[in-house]
Homo-oligomer: 374 residues x 2
Amino acid sequence: MRFTINKEAFLKALTTVGHAIPAKPVIALLTNFRLELNEKGLEILGSDNEITIRSTVPYKIGQIEVIRGAGLGGALVNAHMLTEIVRRMEGDEISMEIIDDSVAKIDDGTGSSFRLISAKAEEYPDIDLEEDGQVFEAKCDALTLLVDQSAFAASTKDQRPILTALNLEAAGDGQLIATATDSARLARKSIHIDSDVRFRCNVKARIFSDIVRLFEGSEYVKVAISASKALFSFDNTVVATRLVAGDYPVTKAIIPTSFNYFLEVNAQELVNAMGRVSILSEKDSAVKLSMREDECEIYAKNERSGSANERIQTFSFNGERLEVSFNPQFVIDAIKALRADDVTLCFQAEMKPFVVKNPRDDSIVELITPMRTY
Amino acid sequence: MRFTINKEAFLKALTTVGHAIPAKPVIALLTNFRLELNEKGLEILGSDNEITIRSTVPYKIGQIEVIRGAGLGGALVNAHMLTEIVRRMEGDEISMEIIDDSVAKIDDGTGSSFRLISAKAEEYPDIDLEEDGQVFEAKCDALTLLVDQSAFAASTKDQRPILTALNLEAAGDGQLIATATDSARLARKSIHIDSDVRFRCNVKARIFSDIVRLFEGSEYVKVAISASKALFSFDNTVVATRLVAGDYPVTKAIIPTSFNYFLEVNAQELVNAMGRVSILSEKDSAVKLSMREDECEIYAKNERSGSANERIQTFSFNGERLEVSFNPQFVIDAIKALRADDVTLCFQAEMKPFVVKNPRDDSIVELITPMRTY
């Protein structure tokens, strides 16, 4: 393999694919990029077994030549070192050549020259990047919002792996629904897609959140859901991740549809007050929200530190006095995900799950289970 | 104790003193600020045993009232919680009152109210903040430069505690000289002071670097060096640190005064090239600088990764061919400390200590010991 490449385009692709390189690899080979110069351009592939990213630098972008002096071939080269070398080189073009299938020579034409020990491309594990199963196209913005408004509610603990997933469901009606729950809270968001695909699958929530960050600058993404993987194609990049095995819990019946109490409140004011009382509360301890028609207050107490009391100024509450205790971080996360100026908290009763919603947006539901009060 | 205080002034003082609060305190009491409202204002004190900071918020700044409704007294209040509460409160004024010597009530007048468990001020350990010993005044800028251009060369390892110190020496001639060495490199910087004080002392380099950061916004600092501590007073803040015990090694004779080879080079170009070759070298491994009249190159090699070669474009070298190997980070640190566009590396011979200097600034010397080549 031999080529001379525009530094900026090379570095952009290396950086994108670098997101798949594990910090502490189990398999030593996965510290490498697999580089392959073929008729499409330079394909750079990285994988950490959970996520695989392949970016292709084309020979030309528009009329501008990006790669010249091409001799087809491939190699495995240390990902971190190659990226750092290219990032810090000062020439506008980088020349790379594989010598004797064992050394990658990298040169920037201004006096900087590296020789990295390389391996044969064939030594890399086989990775399935076939686009198969149910295929649909979505706007990157919409898919990013779908994930950002739901994935945070997934579990971060590995006791029940299925709860670390974001559940995706399309029923052939042009809706894509994402659900996440850690069993104490649930978030559900739906977006419209121009497709009648039908599928159910579970993608690790943390990884899905990483994947949508890669969309930056792209408008459309093609999604392919097969029995074992989810594949995302956008611009010159393909990202694949294994699906989480197992049946996702049935959550539809959990979400209440009728409520007895409604608190309308300014989102920022509630988040700020909740953030302040959280200073006192230890991780996963509760705060108490106390509501009457003429008063809305938040209490927190910690035997070792003291107590806090926040009086909400701008609110509207109908009904009798109600007191509900919960993990303040759950309500902060839910409100932030709604991205609304005003939010409504809908309650059935003191110890029943309650809903935090944006009154102007039915596409998203945030459900929170109260905690026992102290 | 009881007072109402301007939020911004309170937060600024809490944040300054917070730098002395240990992340993992050995003594539980040291998680607290000691607050004392006396005739000078509100004194806030924090200490982690290595460094003590006391900031005073005065009753008035110019004609503006900062503290009102004062009832003198004191208390110990959790530093982290108090700072976070004040930071996040939304009122312009904060009221604080100690109730029954056991609870600090904090209120922002807009609906936010906290009660933190507090303790009596008398329970705090005695801390010596007396200004005694040799006292002189310095410009904050000059003292900051003194530390920034020398402290980095101190040892970070505790095997020889004295080498973790920055050695300060004033011989009554209006010069203050700082020396740091980790035994493989040495940095020495002198500044002028308007004083004929005479002293020698050792201040922990890491702590001294933290202290000069606190000078921001102040013009002059008064320094008092006693047998056991160094004390720094600026604006409304006093900072004290224990001196490091022991005799500092005599370093004067180590610095060579005559050289056989001189490499003049652009500082940024050398730093960039050294940074690139360092990608390959493992921690504390050497790079080789090879100089001839018509060529200046840097090599690095790592058996597991490969090799690097940098050709320096802009340089001037007199004399025969010379090859010197060294820890590239030492040369990068030295060049950065010099803050010069062009630097000169002065060599005696291949395995003799060499000097990196700014040809226009005699107040700073950076000495580096070569390493055995691979």
